[in-house]
Symmetry: C2
Subunit: 206 residues, 2 copies
DNA sequence: TACCCCTTGTGATTATTTTCACAATCTCAA
DNA sequence: TTGAGATTGTGAAAATAATCACAAGGGGTA
């Protein structure tokens, strides 16, 4: 098995490869990529080696081929649809994020318990009542539920998402969720990042 | 020195301790906390031990005391002010995020290059022209610059923030920044989280 | 005070991740 | 076709992080 951190480096590899591709660069060495990504070249080679011999000895990596491989590894070759639950500040920001599309991701609909938000379209999107979650999941073929609801209701909402058949949750609420074993939760705790900075500032400057 | 991951667990410790405090629970064991946070009890004890003997043998940890210690470690005892650069979808969502205050953080102002956004107050906040960054930093005592600008201009904006005297950058643009050694950058790459989910879905279900 | 029980704090151990270093092998030019 | 030069792929070594296991104390009770 490969380190967990390996997968977390792939999105950055994908981005720089996309750039090379854009510049019509066909071959790239691990050394060259490393400079751009900010990791060591052996780290890149090791990461890629977990998924086969993807490069060409003496030459480097074929940009187009490696891009295709990374897409496959990250599941970007198939379009994945997202349901955003909680059409608040963060939910709407994510719904309007243009960066998702280029990674094979698409927000298909939003859901909220607040009646005043229903039907409101932000961009092309519809906000459905939370009760429509299960039916719309089937209708729109959504696979990932994005939780942007207040922490106090996050567990309840997660239960509903699981009930509706979602097997993957992307949780922005600062709460640990209890879910069945076959459901994956990815936690996104933004406070960790800013408090890490705060900690460093406190250390260095008090 | 302690593992990097140690600091990343402290925000969660802080949250559960706040809950205990709210429930007037004065003492808590590492075992009890571990259940709630979702890590092992020895992990918690080890994490805390890097910062001294914070518990009471045979009894557990004094909730109020540990809270105060964690605040100190994370630099939450002093209020830190943030400058959000890029008053777009994500920047405005962060500006309106109520969770920052309870961690000693406060958004003091926003900055944007787009004239049509200047002066617009979202909540109590003002959007300043980007050129006012250095002067407002002094005026408002801001320490951390939050970068929510398009990736294409992130490096330029980072340079301006460094020029203005910011020593800590919280970067949401999917770009590796080059900054002087004495400036800290915390990267927040949301695509990593969702693509990790996508990868797992691809593995399990194709 | 003496004793028992409980939980911390921490060296030692184990697991995981990264880095090193070089044999394998590919490209390209003559 | 051959040889020089380049870069991958990967075991082995080193570094980092998590877990174990238990001695060291502290609290409560009689
Ligand atoms: N705003 C940010 O930048 C930010 C940053 C980090 C984390 N978060 C977290 O993201 C979550 C949302 O934050 P926000 O700032 O967008 O809050 P918000 O109040 O703007 O939005 C929350 C939305 O959830 C809806 N909601 C409430 N209960 C619901 C339920 N039971 N079912 C469905 N929808 C429900 C509300 O109607 C509202 O539209 C919170 O958990 C917050 O801690 C937000
Ligand atoms: N929206 C999201 O949910 C989301 C999620 C993940 C990452 N991001 C990243 O965050 C960044 C912002 O995304 P967004 O969706 O808020 O985009 P946005 O277009 O809504 O906002 C960008 C803002 O930056 C301003 N801007 C442009 N150039 C500037 C400059 N040189 N100086 C100052 N301000 C400038 C624009 O006027 C605009 O207000 C992007 O890098 C994006 O990749 C956004």
């Amino acid at each position: 098995m490969f380190p967990k951190a390996t997968i977390s480096r792939f999105p950055m590899y994908f981005r720089v490869l996309t750039e090379y591709n854009h510049q019509n660069i066909a071959l790239v060495s691990s050394e060259e990529m490393a400079r751009k990504v900010g990791v060591t070249s052996s780290q890149i080679r090791k990461d890629l080696s977990y998924f086969g011999s993807l490069g060409i000895r003496g030459a480097g990596y074929d940009v187009a081929y490696l891009l295709a491989k990374i897409k496959e590894i990250l599941g970007m070759d198939k379009k994945r649809r997202l349901a955003i639950i909680g059409a608040g500040k963060l939910g709407l920001a994510l719904a309007g994020y243009t960066g998702l599309k280029q990674h094979g991701l698409e927000v298909a609909a939003l859901f909220d318990i607040d009646q005043s938000k229903w039907g409101t379209t932000s961009g092309q999107l519809t906000v459905f009542p939370l009760t429509a979650l299960a039916s719309q999941k089937e209708e729109l073929g959504m696979e990932i539920a994005v939780l942007t609801v207040p922490g106090a209701v996050a567990q309840t909402v997660a239960n509903m998402a699981v009930q509706a058949g979602f097997k993957a949750l992307w949780n922005f609420a600062p709460v640990r969720l209890v879910v069945p074993k076959n459901v994956i939760v990815q936690y996104e705790d933004l406070v960790v990042g800013i408090l890490t900075l705060s900690h460093h500032l406190a250390r260095k400057f008090g």
